[in-house]
Assembly symmetry: C2
Homo-oligomer: 547 residues x 2
Amino acid sequence: MLGLMQSWPLTVDKILDHAARWHGHREIVTRSVEGPIVRGTYAECHDRAKRVSSALKGWGVKLGDRVATLAWNTQRHMEAWYGIMGIGAVCHTLNPRLFPEQIAWIINHAEDRIIFVDLTFVGVLEQILPKCPTVERVVVMTDAWNMPQTTLPRAECYEQVVAESSNVCEWGGFSEETACGLCYTSGTTGDPKGVMYSHRSNFLHTLVGLQADVLATSVRDTILPVVPMFHANAWGVAFAAPAVGAKLVLPGAKMDGQSIYELLSTERVTTSAAVPTVWQMLLTHLQSHGLKLPDLERVTIGGAACPETIIRAFHDDYGVDVFHAWGMTETSPLGTTGSLTPEVSSQPFDQQVPYRLKQGRPPIGIELKLTDDEGNILPHDGKTFGHLMVRGSFVAGSYFKGAGGNILDKQGFFDTGDIATIDPIGYMQITDRAKDVVKSGGEWISTIDIENIALGHPAAEQTAVIGVPHPKWDERPILIVKLKEGETATRQDFLDFLQGKIAKWWMPDDVVFVDDIPLGATGKIDKKVLRARLKDYRLPSASPEPA
Amino acid sequence: MLGLMQSWPLTVDKILDHAARWHGHREIVTRSVEGPIVRGTYAECHDRAKRVSSALKGWGVKLGDRVATLAWNTQRHMEAWYGIMGIGAVCHTLNPRLFPEQIAWIINHAEDRIIFVDLTFVGVLEQILPKCPTVERVVVMTDAWNMPQTTLPRAECYEQVVAESSNVCEWGGFSEETACGLCYTSGTTGDPKGVMYSHRSNFLHTLVGLQADVLATSVRDTILPVVPMFHANAWGVAFAAPAVGAKLVLPGAKMDGQSIYELLSTERVTTSAAVPTVWQMLLTHLQSHGLKLPDLERVTIGGAACPETIIRAFHDDYGVDVFHAWGMTETSPLGTTGSLTPEVSSQPFDQQVPYRLKQGRPPIGIELKLTDDEGNILPHDGKTFGHLMVRGSFVAGSYFKGAGGNILDKQGFFDTGDIATIDPIGYMQITDRAKDVVKSGGEWISTIDIENIALGHPAAEQTAVIGVPHPKWDERPILIVKLKEGETATRQDFLDFLQGKIAKWWMPDDVVFVDDIPLGATGKIDKKVLRARLKDYRLPSASPEPA
């Protein structure tokens, strides 16, 4: 027997429809790529998104066709998104921080037909498009005055397209399972892989994210997503803000401390979302200029573990609540958030900090489990390391074109590739990447923990830990250090520094000093390269000891 | 092209699974029907709900079978709910406030196979069950000690059933469109009609309700739903609380001011939901005993318009935020909520009151429109009266067994039967029922507005307004008054009292004094009966005037 409720497919065009109808006058403020700060509204954004849809239909774009964007967070980017998604085409957000040849590979793999591009990236496209045969047209997101001379074939001026297209164009009317967005993971192993969001998954992710215990976005908020729309939908903000009618402030190309401060301050932003480096730049700017942010209430930090100093500085000096969120492209991305349970919130701030440093708890809609190498469930004791597995309605089931084959376990859980603990209150903490964790005598050692502690040594500029083979323990950790310019330190200095801060059996067997620690395209340490560089390294502890 | 996210059906068993796994130790506190206050947890509730499922399966209950409850808000009722829904049977919540013959009619129409009943209602069932041939078994929700002697055939003792059944029983595994809950509307016109919720509609309603701008329920909340689970799922609280792990306080059979105060106070309740009469009883109790409620932060009021005095008293004397919510059985029920927009929240409290008195704004997931009699869209000017039409994923598409035929307009909107206005900020206000509104000279007059204002006259105990035929204006309003005992007043007294408080053309053409104003089963004025009683009444203004 079926229920008898209305059929109302969860398609994301309804989100911008809702914003235009019930919050039409609410502002969208953008630091434009051309320079000036410009102001629009949801009603205007909706009208212009409809024009984008009309133009796309005029160019023959059909249900399921991929239309890409290579762009910062701006109102025009929002318009292009909803214009693409509203007619059932797939909005493919390209990550401009990748190397040009990676971008070209991804465009070809996705078979993008049209690309919306910001002025910043016209040069990149000019360089790679000759190698991208599926791309028929490029829309430069600017006005006629700022339209550059370009070697791009069939380059359109966005404002001219919008002006010349009809604002009457039907949205929706297709299944909620229809593909909606495409985002490639950075691909530290093998080629990049495409995560294909559906309208349903994006809509459900939006509803879950709006919960009081998740991002808690309200119509009374002014929200500034520093996290880019090309990073898993700006953590959902591009959907969540219009869904509740929050005022939206978009930073365009400028994410330095001063630029972000200026928007936070003049637009009276109440909440924001960004990676730790952005918050560190903002803090430095605030501190060195003696500035305050009286309207800012809470910020969400994700993408990497947030240092304790940032959480404390925001709390103590600025009265801002910092919440961790964890997720990945494959989880849309919200997997856990660090909102406080009553057990934690009833404690003084100092006792809250250990929980605030963790990645948080899963909301309804996300199932998490910790497993050992054989798939057995591990306890939530806050100590046991396990593979973090995730299941839910907005978690990837497979990659585009079947890349990577089956990615789910027998129970349908996706392997995040992360190693984590879960404590008895339910807070999850990422301890390592599965491919990086050191397995010593059957126990797992977190390279991230040791790296972060070693980085506290005053002479260290960068630190990394990798496992190297050991005849007795299978693997043992070694610490790799790049010293700050002009500093000196010895192996023993670092071992002494770690003494008492980590378990004895976690103590690295050696310290190796290097001139350079290799980073990947997204700024994280590339341990694959590091391991390759050290492939001839032999542990002193692994050599037969002198009799 | 389809998205490639996981298939994860939205079935409500996942909600209690989530609560047990991530908030297993959080409390459920119940004022038991037997008397004492008893304490349980989500983990225990989950374990016992599984046992209910095992028992139902043992009794041959299959997917789609209707299993009824006739019960107050208690942990056992929650267990029965999830136990029924988890195996894909339909949880049919019977309203004990209906007349016994109505309950019997509804049981027969639903073809209920099993009924879970509280001690309070065993007598009612004994009286009607001989007329209900589909009912095979009754489970009395008590323990062996309190099990009554009963003439009910095949009466089971709940605690014995739970103790003897296995806590291992598979939940879910069926389509999210599967029927989940059945709730009959009170049926002021014609027979009662069944609204058949699906797992999907209840799950989506839960997510929408958890938004910061709707009910904003958090893990840090302690929530007391006074509104019964047989009234459209306790406005969703029976799903929302476990979905976030909020502590749940259930009032059982006692909803008087003192009993509710006791639970609010000792359990440190932060939020609650009830109809205005409950809040009025609580206020009276607080005021007459000089009590405070330091933990209570916000209350949701629905089911009827909330008088300004209640909103002001809660705010001024108790620091509690009162929010209106509007909905009906057919909307699951949340249709609108009165959370404040920045335009309203930035004003002083006195200026907020007119908005707080309205029924509120629709969240994402609900579409509203106002139409005239021909279905044309009317403006959101806060003045124009129109039919309130609603569409969304948790709005009824048809009634059980096709009762009432097609209930949607051509665009798929459900006609609420309410007349409303919507103001430019988006706040909706119910002005009347469509069958009660007075249509005078092509314009609509709100009988509710006039009734409420006239009720402010110190001599009035009850007031009602109905339309009566008029040769020139089609209809004109008359005011019907029941005076307080010992009070006297004239027609002119009431007309003078209304003068200046309503538009001139709204002024009733006559005032009729009566001994009794008829009420329906749910306590609302039965205007159908009132109109029948006054069918021979002739307007003085409709008679030919003396020359």
